[in-house]
Structure formats: structure tokens, C-alpha cells
Amino acid sequence: MRLVLIGLVAGFFSALFGVGGGVVIVPLLLLVCGWQARPAAATSLAAIGITALSGVIAYALHGDVRVGYAALVGVPAAISVAGATALQQRLRTHTIELLFAAFLLGVAVWLFVK
């Protein structure tokens, strides 16, 4: 089943580079499974929720989770994600995909120079 393979690849790269599963899941859903941008992004978010929760538990057992700092960046993100999701519904699918391609190029450059 392709989704299992995509999940395995995403989890592997996510742990290896700390890039988060979405950078792997969304492109593979678009290109391998032929999904549209909106369901790909939405399903990726739900999947990341499961992965992040299991990761948090693992890190928390080692005492590597700082709740205050997590709230400092996570609460603003939780607020803006609602607006961005609403905006995404108004954009055309190919516009979302072109913006996503540009975002991936940015990530690639950042990984290369970091």
C-alpha cells in the first residue's frame, strides 16, 4: 500500500533531518498518488498530528520538551493556521501547487547552506 510506504519514508526523513513529515508527505501525495493540493495538505496535517504526538512522548520521557517555549511559537501558529486554511480554500489548486514548489525550493536552499 502506497500510503504506508509514504508514511515510512516521511517518518524516516523527518527524524533524520528534523524537517517534519509534511515536506515529504505532501509532495508524495501529489506526485505518487495524484491527489489534489487541498486534500493532500489537509490529510498531511492530520497525519503529522499522530507523528508529532508520538515524538513528543518520546522526547518528554528524556526531559527534552520545554512547554513554555512550545507555547511561545505554537500558540501564534495555531491562530494563524486557521486564517491560512481559510485562504487556501480561496486559491486555485495550481496556485497552491506553484507556491508549494517555491516553498520546497526555499527549503532545499536552506538545507544546502545550513
Binding site: 500510503l3 509514504i6 508514511g7 515510512l8 519514508v9 516521511a10 517518518g11 524516516f12 526523513f13 523527518s14 533524520l16 533531518f17 517534519g20 513529515g21 509534511g22 501529489l30 495538505a41 489537509a42 496535517l45 492530520a46 497525519a47 503529522i48 498530528g49 499522530i50 507523528t51 508529532a52 515524538g55 522526547y59 518528554a60 527534552d64 520538551v65 520545554r66 512547554v67 517555549y69 512550545a70 511561545l72 511559537v73 505554537g74 500558540v75 501564534p76 501558529a77 495555531a78 494563524s80 493556521v81 486557521a82 486564517g83 491560512a84 486554511t85 487556501q88 486555485r92 495550481h94 501547487e97 508549494f100 514548489a101 520546497l104 525550493l105 527549503v107 532545499a108 536552499v109 538545507l111
Partner: protein, 122 residues
């Protein structure tokens, strides 16, 4: 790095999450490192920050009917399992070379997505 800048970067990360379906960790980790956290603490803390972000994002997306729950469950569980293996392997492999290979792969993927988007109907 000031707290105000960290909040702004948090807002941007949420924007990326809503637009593209990424968790936001790509911005959270460098932000937390710049705030003075070690790389390990930053990764663990970033994962916790991702949780409310994707919860709200998933809730909003599901109200638009975009979430495929069974697919998400399969992807998420497989990724959670593989992440354990990834951590073990990350210790054993040279980081720099792999990161550049991955960066190169992302460029190819970006070109292919852009190509597909241009061909598709508006």
C-alpha cells in the same frame, strides 16, 4: 532573538501549515535554537508546538471536507514507526552529505510539482 520575533515566526509557521500542510517544525526548530535551546530540546519542543498547530489546522480543513481520515491514520502511524528507525540511523550516518542529497531531491520534486501545476486546468 527576541520573543516578539519568535511570535512572528510562529505566525509564519502557522501560515505555512495552513497553506501547504507542513507541520511548521521547519521554522520552529531554528527559532527555538536561536532562542538558546540546544538542538535536542529544540526538536522535542518543536514537536509539542506542532501539536496545537496541526490540531487547529486539521479541524479547519475537516470543516471544508478536505481530510481523508483513513489515509491520515495510515500515514501517521507508519511515519511514527519509521521515525524511531530514523533517529537510530541518524546517529550512524554523516549528516552533511545526506542533507545535501535530500536538498537536491527536493529541488527535483519542486520542479515536478510546478510542471504538473502548469499543465493542469486552472
Amino acid at each position: 532573538m527576541t520573543y516578539a520575533l519568535a511570535i512572528v515566526l510562529g505566525l509564519v509557521a502557522g501560515g505555512l501549515a495552513g497553506m501547504f500542510g507542513v507541520g511548521g517544525g521547519i521554522l520552529f526548530v531554528p527559532t527555538l535554537v536561536a532562542l538558546g535551546l540546544g538542538y535536542h530540546d529544540a526538536t522535542g519542543t518543536s514537536l509539542l508546538a506542532i501539536v496545537p498547530t496541526v490540531l487547529v489546522g486539521t479541524w479547519r480543513q475537516s470543516s471544508y471536507g478536505n481530510v481523508r481520515w483513513r489515509g491520515a491514520l495510515v500515514l501517521g502511524l507508519a511515519a511514527a514507526v519509521a521515525a524511531q528507525g530514523g533517529v537510530a540511523l541518524a546517529e550512524a550516518l554523516s549528516d552533511g552529505t545526506l542533507r545535501k542529497l535530500f536538498a537536491g531531491l527536493l529541488v527535483l520534486v519542486a520542479v515536478q510539482i510546478a510542471w504538473r501545476a502548469r499543465r493542469a486546468d486552472p
